[in-house]
Amino acid sequence: MNMISLSALDLSMTALLVVALAILSLRLQLGVTRQLIIAAIRTTVQLLLIGYILKFLFENVHLGYMAAISLIMLLFAGREVMARQTHPYKGLWGFGMGTVSMFLSTFIVTLIALTVIINNDPWYTPQYAIPLLGMMLGNTMTGIALGLERLTQAAREQRTQIEARLMLGHSGMQAITDIRRQSMRYGMIPIINSMAAAGIVSLPGMMTGQILAGSPPLEAVKYQILIMFLIAAGTGFGTVIAVVLGSKRLFDERERLRLDRLRSS
């Protein structure tokens, strides 16, 4: 591979661009200067840190390490899903619902991809497993967060309509069926859009990275297609699971709408 290694000087020069932007936003009184600087420092520190972790994992290939890092990534993603909700579910459900759905969809899809499709030896080779799982989690997280947000918002807004149906003897699942469908759609729309726009409007980041790192474009494209399909499946299944769990949790065993199970903002 004809990869050009970046020096500390190269990175410093790009950092100067950010500093220039910071000075400009200070002069324009945009009020984002502080955030911009902090974010730039965070990205440097966080990425360097993950770089060292990845370096360690690549040099010490072990299923136990992989399981541990996967679990940590999953838990952070689960926390992020909850943090993105205006009205998360109370108690352990708020965290558990997103985490369980993500676990079921991303881990299964990633496992299939690693063992059946990529089929490296060993199948958990970190160079493949970690980026794959990371991309899966990142996208599935967005889908699930959007789906659950739509579900809980709509249930709150349409409380009287839902209860009117309950009063007529509809079950909770019947009463929320339109909202449930809509929420599942909401979660899937971003990945459908990015598949539709890929290559025409946007060059996907992973592919761009591979090409920058010296891969032949067609190889990079094949990987990107693989990733897109995996993400679509992971996001779709994850969103469906999360919205089903979420809508069940909105009703109790006597089919009463239980908005009190959501946190008030």
Binding site: T160, E163, A164, M167, G169, H170, R254, R256
Partner: protein, 200 residues
């Protein structure tokens, strides 16, 4: 006869323990100041809120009956009707044209879109929608509050006929004293102290 028995019903929003019996074919009118929990009582009877105590209909106890079946038998009409779909017909099965006519509608009303309806029209259609379930109990939360005098009279007639013919037990929340005198077989007053029968 399938009479409705309400025994010591209450919950955290409805601290008083409420009891009352309404026989099939009987209309009980509840009145009293707003905010004491008349609507909450009706919601508990329909098992729409968690509650203590016991509600039974004839031999069947609410807690032992599948809840969707219970709510079809014990029909609650909310003070404001709610609609979840575009067309009137999406919300109810075919309504007999005599019933439609009784409340001043032609058959074409089923094709109308809900947006076109006035509050009063929605309320009258919500009553027909509820009766289509053929409930044994009707819990009516100010069913005529938004209606013009002519419609009030028609709705009273329809509901009382249903009550006598089915026969069904009616609990009718009303603030209108003249109406209470017209329709009630028994009258209750609901205030902070609880629910008490008014002897006339």
């Amino acid at each position: 006869m399938t009479s409705l028995r309400v025994e010591d019903v209450g919950n955290k929003w409805l601290p008083a323990k409420i009891s009352l019996n309404v026989a099939a074919g009987e209309c009980a009118v509840i009145s009293g100041p707003s905010g004491v929990g008349k609507s909450l009582l009706l919601r508990s009877i329909a098992d729409l809120d968690e509650h203590n105590g016991r509600v039974s209909l004839g031999d069947s106890v609410c807690a032992d009956v599948p809840v969707t079946e219970w709510r079809r038998k014990v029909g609650l009409l909310a003070a404001d009707s709610a609609w979840w779909s575009e067309k009137v017909a999406d919300h109810m099965p075919k309504i007999p044209s005599e019933q439609l006519a009784m409340l001043g509608f032609g058959k074409e009303v089923m094709r109308w879109s809900v947006d076109r309806l006035s509050t009063g029209e929605k309320q009258r259609l919500a009553i027909l929608r509820l009766l289509a379930n053929k409930p044994s109990v009707l819990l009516l939360d100010e069913p005529t509050a938004n209606l013009d005098p002519d419609s009030v009279q028609k709705v009273e007639q329809l509901l009382l006929e249903y009550c006598r013919n089915k026969p069904a037990a009616l609990i009718w929340v009303s603030h209108d004293i003249a109406q209470a005198e017209r329709i009630a077989d028994s009258r209750y007053h609901f205030d902070e102290k609880g629910l008490n029968e008014v002897k006339s």
